[in-house]
Homo-oligomer: 345 residues x 2
DNA sequence: TTATATCACATAAACGTTTAGGAAAAGTCA
DNA sequence: TGACTTTTCCTAAACGTTTATGTGATATAA
């Protein structure tokens, strides 16, 4: 067994009180004593038991994040970066990061959140992939449990979040495509209950309107954030009698799937078809051709989320309860050509 | 505050002992009593405090995994799948998964492992990206701390691991390329301290030997598992006076970078240059052209690792302490063409 | 000199569980 | 009937911390 605070105290002929206070840096311990304690603790390899500390202090020094995934087929690289950011920032504050996976709105998800919250397993939670009516928000608000969200739900004024103005972002993308001469611009979205779908779709519609293009419901498909979802949806679009000349994916994964579909149809993306995505994950830079996308800084965002969450946990006032992070339109080859407007004039 | 076991006991006029035993399913509680307890616990929304349970039981019901990453530029999708597998399997055993990130062989890594092990924050650890002389293995063995590894270090007979026979795998890839007519086959590897580099590089060399191709050190580069590392290395290779006609990447990321480099050089991958990778992550299917790769089932592997680890933790005998998972060569377009052996005959 | 403040440490009580060791009540057997 | 076993529950002691409260010794002030 590893040594306890009691063992250290005994070796020094001190009380456990003194050891505890010395190690935690309180000033009611003489400097000489503190030195002895610190050295002995190090020598004996003493590390405080997290469980005991947690029980006594009533905090876990840990935050939690539940991946919106299920099974192996959910591997959006976005979440690799996101988790890396959470982990790095948490670690730098001596917090741990508890991670699990659950399918959105599943029973397992509910049980997991309840277990973590009720059992005080974590001091706060990071939410992502917000839904319009998000039971997690209701649940956590009701239990007064600290959390911070990436994105927002409908009642988003009551909690801290960081979001992108993806509505404006999608308007920008449509704009960009219109400038390139496109008039038949398709959109492959996400399931409707996700807030981001509402924002991005609205941005898409506004973009069309601004360009005086009539909205065509045939050009809107629903994907599922995955490459395969994008692939399937793009195939449907390209099979239309009057197919689109440009496709916007709700995220990069979707766009990657669309690129693949185009290729299978013998279309050269960047010449015969424009494709754009959203997220700006590293791999969007390495698609063939490189993908035009709206880059959000997922790493910085997740680090900020942790900072906001920790402030929330320690009850500090948060100055920027709600932050909107900038988006950067990265124009790459997948949309770089000027479309010859033969048919649409 | 959420109710404690004491609150439940009081409401039922029982002792906390009975409540505890009833909920944990021991048979020294009358069935009728057990029913009452269970119902009341549910009604009051009682969840045992993890900290208290952990303190008393001396186990955390959690396992840990430390991502070999640092900063934002580490986003191998392999780890998304890997973590998803860990999370799913752990959850199904009512275990939690603690995740953090640390740069391999950094001080931070050491501190993190020590904190988790000494503080009994987790009951066991999953290791990955094993190094030849892996201090983690020494440390954990010395402390008799349960762990299971993805891959192996030099002294791998003393702990459970799951590995692929990537040496044979790389031999197979070389074979495949030789069959396609290639003689100048390059290899972009990983830093030397990683075991997998040794295995894969050896496999590459054996493949060359089997085909009677002389080893050319100019065709071997070191990458860093990343797209960019692969990109840079591939540029160097393609700048050679006598460049390779095929490039094998130590992983898919590296290969993706190589594809990009080829493209920038005006080479069409699958016609002018063959590229192959390793991992079989989902995105290898969606590169342009789709990437030939050795597929390992990361999801299944990580789930198995958790099972092995949990067996280890509960002291069970493990039948398959060391498992070698199969690899599947996925031949896709990136290597599908027959190379015209003009110069090399 | 005495009263009081400060310093440096100690004692002991929590925190919410699990569980060893009993113990009363009921059942079983001679 | 009495002795023994079984069932069902309880009391109380841990687990390893943190911290409210206490206490001598020394320093300071009146």
């Amino acid at each position: 067994m590893s040594p306890t605070i009691r063992d250290v105290a005994k070796r020094l002929n001190l009380s456990i009180y003194t050891v505890s206070r010395a190690l935690d840096g309180y000033d009611d311990v003489a400097d000489a004593t503190r030195q002895r304690v610190i050295e002995m603790a190090k020598e004996m390899g003493y590390t405080p038991s997290r469980a005991a500390r947690q029980l006594r202090r009533k905090r876990a020094d840990a935050i939690g994040y539940i991946l919106p995934a299920s099974g192996p087929h959910f591997t959006d690289p976005f979440f690799s970066i996101f988790i890396a950011g959470l982990g790095d920032e948490a670690t730098s504050h001596k917090f741990d990061l508890l991670v699990s996976t659950a399918e959105p709105d599943s029973l397992a998800e509910k049980e997991l959140y309840e277990r973590w919250v009720q059992g005080h397993l974590v001091d706060g939670l990071v939410l992502s992939r917000m839904r319009l009516n998000d039971w997690r928000v209701d649940y956590l608000l009701k239990n007064q449990f600290p959390f911070a969200a990436h994105g927002r739900s409908l009642n988003c004024d009551q909690y801290p979040y960081i979001d992108m103005d993806s509505q404006a972002g999608f308007l920008t993308i449509v704009n960009h495509l219109v400038e390139r001469g496109h008039r038949r611009i398709a959109y492959i979205g996400a399931p409707r209950n996700f807030t981001l779908q509402e924002h991005r779709f609205t941005g898409y519609c506004e973009g069309l309107k601004a360009a005086g293009i009539e909205f065509d419901p045939a050009l809107v498909c629903e994907g599922d954030f995955s490459r395969n979802g994008g692939y399937q949806a793009a195939l449907r679009l390209l099979n239309l009698a009057h197919p689109p000349t440009a496709i916007i994916g709700v995220n990069d994964m979707t766009a990657v799937g669309a690129i693949r579909a185009a290729r299978e149809r013998g279309l050269v993306v960047g010449r015969d078809l424009a494709v754009a995505g959203y997220d700006g994950t590293d791999d969007s830079e390495h698609t063939q051709p490189p993908l035009t996308t709206l880059r959000q800084n997922a790493y910085e965002t997740s680090r900020r989320l942790v900072r906001v969450l920790l402030a929330r946990i320690s009850g500090e006032d948060i100055e920027n309860m709600q932050q909107i992070m900038p988006l950067e339109l990265l124009v790459r080859e997948s949309t770089s050509f000027q479309y010859r407007q033969l048919e649409n004039i």
